[in-house]
Amino acid sequence: MITSKKRLTAGVFAGLAAASLVAGCSTKAADSNSSGTGGSAGGVKTDVGVTDTEISLGALTDQTGLFKVLGAASTQGNQMWADDVNADGGICGRQIKINVSDTGYSAEKAVTLYNQSKSKDLGYVQLIGSPAMAALKKPLVNDKIAAVPLSWSSRNLDVPNVLMVGTTYDVEVINGLAYLQKQGKIKDGDKIGHIYLKTEFGENGVEGSKYYASKHKMTVVESGVSATATDMTSSITALKGAGVKAIVVTSGPTQLASALGVARAQGLNVPFFGSSPTYTPQLLDTPAGALLTSGNFVTAGVVVPFNSAVPKAKEIASKWEKENKDGVPTFGMNLGYAMGMAWGAVLKQACSDGDLTRQGILDAIRKTSVDTQGLTPNQDFTHPGSPATREVFIYKPKKTEGGLDANPEKFISQEAQEYKAPFQE
C-alpha cells in the first residue's frame, strides 16, 4: 500500500499549502485599487507611475543581445536627460526616475518585464527591437501606455502609443536615394539593388526604395536575407548580374560589412547607401573599415554625431567622456537624450493640460512638437501616421571619435516630403 500512503502524504501537503494560501490575504486587490484610481495631487490628475514628487519611466533596453551597442548608449542618453531635467527642478514639480530593464532582444523577456514594470511606470522612454515592439504593441494599446521605440518602421505609426523620435526607414531610404541622385551617382531609369533583412526594419526600407524608384522610372532588384545571415556573396553576385548602379542596404552591420567586402572582391564599384542601423563605429576597426571610409558608402541618421559641434551634443560628449573612460563613443547618447527630450515635451504638455494619467499622455502626444536643441531635426507628433520629421543627416564614416564626420549634411528631398506613409491621414 505504498501508493496509497504516498498519495495521502501528497494530499495532506497540498491541502496545507492551499489552506495557507486561502488564509493569507491577496495583495493584488489592494494594489490594483491604488493603481487603478490614482488621484489628483496639486490639481494634476494622475494614475500609474506618477506621485507628488516623482514620475517613473521605464526603459526596456538591450544590454546583452544583438542591439546591446545601441541599447547601452541610448540608455545612457536617457539617463543624462533625466539628470539634467532633475537638476533643473524636474517636470511638473516632479523628479524623473528611469527604471532600466534588459530584454536581451528577446520578445518573451520583453513581455514579462513589461508586465512587471507596467504597474509602476507611467510609460517607456525606450523600447528596443522590432520583435519586442511587435509583441508589445497590442498590450501598449490595451493599457494606454506610450513608448519611444528604438525601431523606426512607419508601419507602427497607426497608434499614438508609439512615440517615434526620428524619421522612418522608408523615408530614410527615399532621402538616401535622392541624395545619391543629387550627387550624380545614379540617374533615372537605373537599376537599384536592395539587400534587406526580412524583418519589420528591412521590409519597411524596401517600401521606401520602391517608392523612390516609381518616381524615377528605376527598378529595384530585391535580395532579402535572414537576420543572422553573414555571407552576402549570393546577394552581391545576383545584384551584379542584374547590373545595378547602386545598392541600398537595410540590414545589420554584419551584412553591410560582408556586402561591401564581397562587392569589392567581385569588382562591383557602385555607391552604397545604408540605413542607420547598418553602421556602427566599431565597424571601422574591422577588415571592412577601409571600404566604409572610401567615399563609396554613406548612411543616414536622425541625430548629430558624437563629435558634433552642436552645443548640446558637445555637452553630452564631454559629460560622457568624463564618466566612461573605456567605452566606445557612438551617436547613441545623443539619440537617447533626444528621446528623453521628446518625453519631456509630452510631459510638460500633459502637465499644462492638468492630466498626467496614461490617457492624458496619449492626448498630449498629438499636441506636442519638440525642439531638441539641434540634436535632431524638430520633431512634430501632431500628425497621426506621419513620421515626426522627414529630414535626415547624411553621415559619412570617418576614423575619429564617434566614427562619423562631425558635420553631416542635413538633407530632405522633395520625394520624402511628398511620400504618404502607410497610416498617414
Binding site: 491577496s26 544590454q63 548608449a73 532600466v100 504597474s119 520583435p131 490595451n142 535572414s226 537576420a227 543572422t228
Partner: protein
C-alpha cells in the same frame, strides 16, 4: 514488458505494469488521489488571486512549454523516437489556429471560426501533420531521426516567410482572436468579475485557461501511457523485432506516437499565440526566436532535464528552461544604471550561465532528471 529505469521513472509505477494489481484497494487509497486532484484544482483556481500579473505570465509561458515538452517526452521516452522538430509543430499550431480563427481580409487568409472549433481543428491538423511524417520517421533511428526532424524547423521557417498570407508578415505579424466560449471571454480587459475582491482580467483568465489545458493534456497523456497505447510504444522502444513478433504494428505505433506528440506541439503553439496577446509572427532568423532551432533544442532539454518519459518531469523541465530565464530578470528587477562597456553580468547573462550550469549538474548527478530527483526526495521523506 520490460522497462528501463531511465525511460520510465519509478515516479509513476502504474505505467510499468509491474505493480501487482491489488484486488481490493482500501478506501483511503481510492479517495486520496481524488482529494489530491481536488486540492490541486483549488490551488490553480485561486492562484490568479494571489500571484501578480507578471508572474502569471511566467507561469503561463512555463505551461505552454510544458505542454509541448509533454508531447515530446512521450515520443522520446515512451516510444523511443528522437525528435528535434517540436518547434515546427509549435509554429504549425500557431499558424493553423490563426488561419482558422482569424477573419480573412485582403492581406491574410482566415476562416473566422469560433475559437473552440479552431482550437480543436488545430490539434487535429497538427496531429495529422505529425502522422504524415511517418514515412520518414519509420525509416530512421536515433540521432538521424532527430536531425531529420530538425529539418522540419528549417522548412517551417522558410515556408512561414514565403507564405505571409497564412503566417503573418515577418515584420509585424498578424493577430488571432483570444480564446472565448459563449459567456466567457478569456481576453477580457475590462473585467466585471471579482474573485475575493480581485478583478479577474486577461492575465488572470489566461492563467485559468492555460492551467485547464495543461491539466487536460497531462491526464490525456497519463491515460495514453497507462493503457494499450503506452504498452505498444514501449514494446517498440525496447525492441522492434520482438514487438513485431508480439503482433504490434511497429510503423503504426511510431506514426501514432508522432501524431500525439505533434498534437501536443500544436496545442502549445496555440498557447504561445495567446500568450503573445494573439500575435502570430514568424521569426527573424531560423536560429533565433519563438519557433527557432533554439526553441526546439530547449524543448528537448526540458524532457531530458525533467527525466525522459515523465509528464510531470516535462513541466518541471519547462519551469527550468522556459521559466528561469524569464524569472531571474523579474527577481533582480530594474535598476538606474547601465554599463557602457557591455561586459557586465546583467541578469540575462547570469540567467544563461545559471541555466547552462544547472543542465550540466543535472546530467552529471541525476541522469534520470528532475523526475528521478523527485523520487529520491519522496523516498527520503518516507523513510
Amino acid at each position: 514488458m520490460s522497462d528501463t529505469e531511465i525511460a520510465n521513472p519509478p515516479a509513476t509505477p502504474e505505467t510499468t505494469g509491474t505493480t501487482p494489481v491489488t484486488a481490493r484497494r482500501s478506501t483511503a487509497a481510492r479517495v486520496a488521489p481524488l482529494i489530491g486532484w481536488a486540492v490541486l484544482l483549488l490551488v490553480l483556481f485561486l492562484t490568479p488571486v494571489y500571484v501578480p500579473g507578471e508572474w502569471l505570465s511566467v507561469l503561463c509561458w512555463i505551461m505552454a512549454g510544458g505542454v509541448a515538452a509533454m508531447g515530446l517526452t512521450m515520443l522520446i521516452g515512451q516510444a523511443g523516437q528522437f525528435s528535434l522538430g517540436q518547434a515546427f509543430f509549435l509554429l504549425l499550431g500557431g499558424v493553423t489556429y490563426t488561419v482558422l480563427a482569424a477573419d480573412g481580409d485582403a492581406e491574410y487568409i482566415g476562416f473566422g471560426l469560433p475559437p473552440l472549433v479552431a482550437l480543436i481543428g488545430t490539434i487535429i491538423i497538427s496531429g495529422l501533420a505529425g502522422a504524415a511524417f511517418a514515412p520518414i520517421s519509420g525509416r530512421l533511428r536515433g540521432i538521424y531521426l532527430g536531425v531529420a526532424s530538425l529539418s522540419l524547423v528549417f522548412l517551417g521557417y522558410y515556408l512561414s516567410h514565403e507564405l505571409p498570407m497564412l503566417a503573418g508578415s515577418a515584420s509585424s505579424g498578424r493577430y488571432a482572436p483570444t480564446f472565448s466560449v459563449p459567456g466567457f471571454d478569456f481576453g477580457e480587459t475590462n473585467p466585471q468579475l471579482l474573485l475575493l475582491n480581485v478583478p479577474m482580467g486577461a492575465a488572470e483568465r489566461q492563467f485559468w485557461l492555460f492551467a485547464g489545458l495543461t491539466v487536460i493534456a497531462y491526464l490525456v497523456g497519463q491515460g495514453a501511457m497507462k493503457g494499450r497505447v503506452g504498452r505498444g510504444w514501449r514494446a517498440v522502444r525496447d525492441n522492434e523485432a520482438v514487438a513485431t513478433v508480439m503482433g504490434v504494428s511497429v510503423p503504426g505505433e511510431k506514426a501514432k506516437a508522432f501524431a500525439i506528440s505533434s498534437a501536443y506541439g500544436g496545442l502549445a503553439g496555440v498557447m504561445v499565440v495567446w500568450w503573445y496577446s494573439g500575435l502570430m509572427k514568424p521569426d527573424e532568423a531560423v536560429e533565433l526566436g519563438t519557433y527557432s532551432t533554439y526553441t526546439t533544442i530547449a524543448l528537448l532539454a526540458m524532457c531530458v532535464i525533467g527525466g525522459l518519459g515523465s509528464l510531470g518531469g516535462a513541466i518541471a523541465g519547462s519551469a527550468l528552461v522556459f521559466g528561469l530565464p524569464l524569472a531571474l530578470p523579474l527577481l533582480t528587477g530594474s535598476n538606474q544604471t547601465v554599463d557602457a562597456s557591455g561586459t557586465a553580468f546583467t541578469p540575462i547573462v547570469i540567467t544563461n550561465l545559471v541555466f547552462g550550469i544547472l543542465i550540466v549538474l543535472i546530467v552529471l548527478f541525476e541522469p534520470r532528471g528532475l523526475a528521478g530527483l523527485g523520487t529520491r526526495l519522496r523516498n527520503l521523506i518516507r523513510r
